[in-house]
């Protein structure tokens, strides 16, 4: 039974192959399940700004992994802090509180996709809903293992010996963030935010994010970065319109 469901999921992915990497993580519109109509039409957009000097990302000793090393033109670095023109990427932002009491959300049937390419996780930071499939792909012609070590639910530790393999897992409880790591390549880290609702996003290269489909209300919005910790702002959405939220990170 489980196998059958899985095949359908995989087939669905295959059809949508080449789609955007953010998958289901992008926000409410990604929740394709028709039953999960958004509660509202409001949205919060904003950006992650960064001030100060970004710490230099550590280099990766990839010398003994030729197949991965050749995918990198320059000396590979671990992209812990990605700042472009004063904007910070890979910040996970989500509605921490303020949603209507008792609102229930259905996980989208499309999986979130985490790729392993050039011995790095892509994307490094992503979100999934509780019960939503997380599809882990191996695009490298070598063994990766993926270890999830959540704090408040059972993790997993699986491996993918060949290129093209996919493994699908999901999480059963909300947790921000679940760290993922590869133990064959000790530098490989990814972070998955697991939430019961679809109101989350990850900042892009330009630091921007967008959360849509929100009902009117006042929300506590939290932004998380692996090096710079969390920040919280309060945002009010009214009349089904757009609201903005700005986060400012700094090297201090």
């Amino acid at each position: 039974m489980r196998r059958f469901v899985l095949c359908v999921t995989l087939a669905g992915v295959a059809c949508g192959g080449g789609g955007e990497q953010q998958g289901g993580a992008g926000g409410a519109e990604a929740g394709a399940a028709p039953a999960a109509a958004p509660l509202g039409t409001g949205s919060i957009t904003g950006a992650m700004s960064f001030s100060g000097t970004a710490p230099e990302n550590p280099t990766i000793d990839m010398a003994e992994e030729a197949e991965c090393r050749e995918k990198h033109a320059d000396i590979p670095r671990d992209p812990q802090v990605v700042v472009t023109d004063g904007m910070l990427a890979d910040v996970f932002v989500y509605v921490k509180s303020g949603l209507p009491e008792g609102a229930a959300f259905t996980a989208p049937s499309t999986p979130a996709v985490l790729d392993q390419d050039g011995c790095l996780y892509r994307p490094r930071v992503l979100g999934v809903m509780v019960g939503q499939d997380l599809e882990i792909r191996n695009s490298d012609p070598l063994q990766h293992n993926v270890k999830a070590v959540p704090a408040n639910q059972r993790g997993f530790n699986i491996s993918q010996p060949r290129a093209g393999m996919t493994t699908t897992r999901s999480f059963s409880a909300p947790e921000v963030m679940v760290p993922l790591e590869c133990n064959v390549h000790g530098w490989m880290n990814a972070y998955v935010g697991v939430l019961e609702h679809p109101y989350f996003a990850t900042s892009g290269e330009d630091g921007s994010f967008s959360i849509t489909g929100l009902p009117d209300g006042t929300y506590e919005l939290e932004a998380w970065h692996e090096k710079f910790g969390t920040q919280t702002v309060s945002v009010t959405v009214s009349g089904g319109g757009a609201a903005t939220a700005e986060f400012a990170f700094s090297s201090q």
């Binding site: 010398a63 293992n145 133990n183």
Partner: protein, 223 residues
């Protein structure tokens, strides 16, 4: 002989010698026993009119075939004890060795080098993943530890194997006799990616090794 891997350490040939000496001894025992077995099966197969001998034993024969194996194995043991102590005995570690530290973790060998000052635990130490670079004809002592589970440091060409145990630091020594590249394997089941926990051993000439150590001290090392 081509049966064993290329040998490239000082004691590899001693271990190989032990292997072949045992092979000769057990080979003789094997041939004698199996030949006797086959001979008896043919010679004493049941034939009409012949009755088996009614014999319960023979003390002389039993004393002989107790004593011969006993003496043989004790001789093997005495020989082995010396070589074992030379390779693994904690009091027999060579002086003037290059001192390295290896931390095994799921599923990588992290080799820490002392840097140009030759001292571990100082600022200029550096760590290389899955790459063990050593000079030829000079003993190397490795402080072997593990971060998480058991691993086993195995360089077939050096005939050395030593488990790495979390919570323990176990010294291992070897001295390469050939330059070139060899493989480092994990020989103790350590998890799902155990089979891919491999490293490279590169044996350099003394000069090349010095050069390599200096080159590694730059920040963009290893690329």
């Amino acid at each position: 002989m081509g049966w064993l891997p290329e040998s490239a350490s000082t004691y590899a040939s001693d271990i190989d010698l032990g292997f072949w000496v045992i092979t000769v001894i057990v080979g003789i025992a094997f041939v004698v026993v199996e030949a006797a077995l086959v001979l008896f099966l043919v010679r004493y197969r049941a034939r009409p009119g012949r009755r088996a001998a009614y014999i319960h034993g023979n003390t002389t024969a039993e004393v002989i075939w107790t004593a011969v194996p006993a003496i043989t194995v004790v001789a093997i043991g005495v020989w082995s004890a010396g070589l074992w102590s030379e390779i693994k005995g904690r009091d027999n570690f060579p002086a003037d060795a290059v001192h390295l530290a290896i931390e095994a973790k799921q599923f990588e060998w992290n080799v820490t080098y002392p840097g140009p000052d030759g001292q571990l635990g100082t600022e200029d130490d550096f760590t290389r993943r899955n790459a063990l670079e050593i000079p030829v004809n000079r003993p190397v002592v490795v402080d072997l530890t593990a971060e998480d589970v058991l691993h086993s440091f195995f360089v077939p060409a050096f005939r050395i194997k030593q488990d790495a145990v979390p919570g323990m630091t176990i010294p291992v020594w070897f001295e390469a006799t050939k330059t070139g590249e060899f493989e480092l394997a994990c020989a103790e089941l350590c998890g799902n990616s155990h089979y891919s926990m491999k490293g490279r051993v590169r044996v350099h000439t003394a000069e090349d090794y010095e050069e390599w150590v200096r080159s590694q001290s730059s920040p963009e090392a290893g690329q």
